[in-house]
């Protein structure tokens, strides 16, 4: 199948929650190297709150993204609240009228998520932020759409691209967030936001694949 049902997508959200919870310590540890060591804590707080508030409710994939996004925005604050909140609510917006979600739809959703994000942050590729994960992922999906590739294959390629994007942050100097304090000394270490972004995209991909 080359689509999945929007109404089955609740599972995708739970997979995203799960990966954040499992990687809480890992994300904080990476943040500890050049940031303030709280990224896993921050993310876990928001995702677990979403889980707590919505675990016994039924929702579409697009609705779940809206709920998660609003939870992050309304209860987390900081930078992560608006950043991931904007991405997820942006995705939700672009998918809200869909019954079935195709590769083209999913790519459009993620693009709309980034569109919202780009209105509130300045970071570009190479600035050592989660943008370094998000943009390669979006480009990979866009490319797969152009090539009319299979949804599953596209998702697997997106994972690879996101991973490479996240890994690339090792080579960059941080320009935003607390790591920017270190300047040159931030080189050689992953950006924790790019890792959490990869983990989330990866969880989405794996979970969607089971629904195809």
């Amino acid at each position: 199948m080359s689509t999945f049902d929007n109404k089955d997508g609740g599972a995708v959200l739970l997979a995203m929650v799960d990966t954040i919870q499992k990687n809480k310590a890992y994300l904080s540890d990476i943040d500890g190297l050049i940031g303030d060591g709280d990224h896993g804590v921050n993310m876990n707080k928001g995702f677990s709150l979403f889980e707590k508030n919505y675990c016994d409710k039924e929702f579409l994939f697009s609705e779940g993204l809206e709920y998660l996004g609003m939870t992050l925005m309304n209860d987390i604050g900081g930078s992560m609240g608006p950043i991931y909140g904007t991405i997820f609510t942006g995705m939700s917006e672009a998918g809200s009228n869909l019954q079935k979600i195709s590769l083209t739809d999913f790519a459009a959703m993620l693009e709309n998520g980034y569109k919202g994000l780009s209105e509130i942050i300045e970071a570009k590729v190479g600035d050592k932020t989660l943008v370094d994960t998000l943009i390669p992922a979006i480009n990979s999906l866009r490319d797969s759409v152009a090539r009319k590739e299979d949804f599953k294959r596209a998702l697997l390629k997106m994972k690879t691209a996101a991973k490479a994007g996240s890994d690339s942050t090792k080579n960059f100097k941080a320009k935003y967030g607390r790591a920017s304090r270190l300047g040159e000394r931030s080189i050689g270490v992953l950006d924790t936001g790019s890792v959490s972004c990869y983990l989330l995209l990866s969880a989405m991909a794996d979970s969607i694949i089971t629904l195809l």
């Binding site: 060591g37 804590v41 921050n42 930078s79 920017s180």
Partner: protein
Amino acid sequence: MQRIMNDPDNIVDEMLAGFIKAHDNIVESTANSRVVKAKNILPDKVGVITGGGSGHKPAFIGYVGKNMCDAAAVGEIFSSPTAAAFLDAAKAVDQGKGVACLYGNYSGDNMNVKMALKMAKKQGITIKTVVANDDVASAPKGQEEKRRGVAGEILMWKVGAAKAAQGASLDEVIAAAQKAIDATKSIGIGLSPCTLPTVGHSNFDIKHGTMEVGIGHHGEPGMKVCPLGTAKEIAKKMVDIVLSDYPFKKDDEVVILVSGLGATPVMELYVLYNEIEKLIGHAGLKVHKAYVGNYFTSLEMMGATFTMMKLDKELKELIDVPAYSMGLKQE
């Protein structure tokens, strides 16, 4: 980490509970537990709100009170409040005359305020903003819009809130607050780092015998690390940086604010002020009013900030309006 706390994840909420109980003559809680509101707000006036991360006591909630901010949105330590908190703060004090949101230039705060503004618009609430950018160390001259807000925010709040208390319109309040922050320049020096309770170790260091000139309120990097100077030398550095960033001129009247960053003994702030005041005098400026104390801190960092605001007739009058908040009480 020698801290008086329970669960570090709850430190902000527990602090708020204690704060509201201790100051129930000045503030009260609201439906949003992360919004603190002044008691007995004057009727029929423009609302004045602020908000920011925790760990800066008295900022931000310490500047909620009579003739000061009407409400503040409270974030986690060193982390912006949510958009919802900014919105709820505005809603809690809106009397139909609009709300002035006076906050500091940090990416998290900018994002959350931006989103709060969107939501407010949908709900028919008018919020206008002034973004404090008084920290001259955080971006070069000409790129003032990139600068962070630091202790100068207090003077912005004082002026904006006093204007609102006088019954001014939203645009007048915004104009006064904007004028205040435009006329206000700050510089900080850091002598020791601080530790986030949730993290347990500091994520930067300041070597003994050195000081970081231009450090930010969360340990953001300064302009340079120098050998720790005497109070006289520190004052000279700070005054030179501030004087050269703005047309402060002979015979100008100024307000001076010297704030500790947390752990520096208050005695030293007076020693520093003593030197600063002499230099200001030599430059021909007149100190109209001085605030010296722990006005805007960064947990237990050692160090101090120096802030100077150039007065005109309106700013002078507004600075002199009495105020009664936890962090600023003045007759």
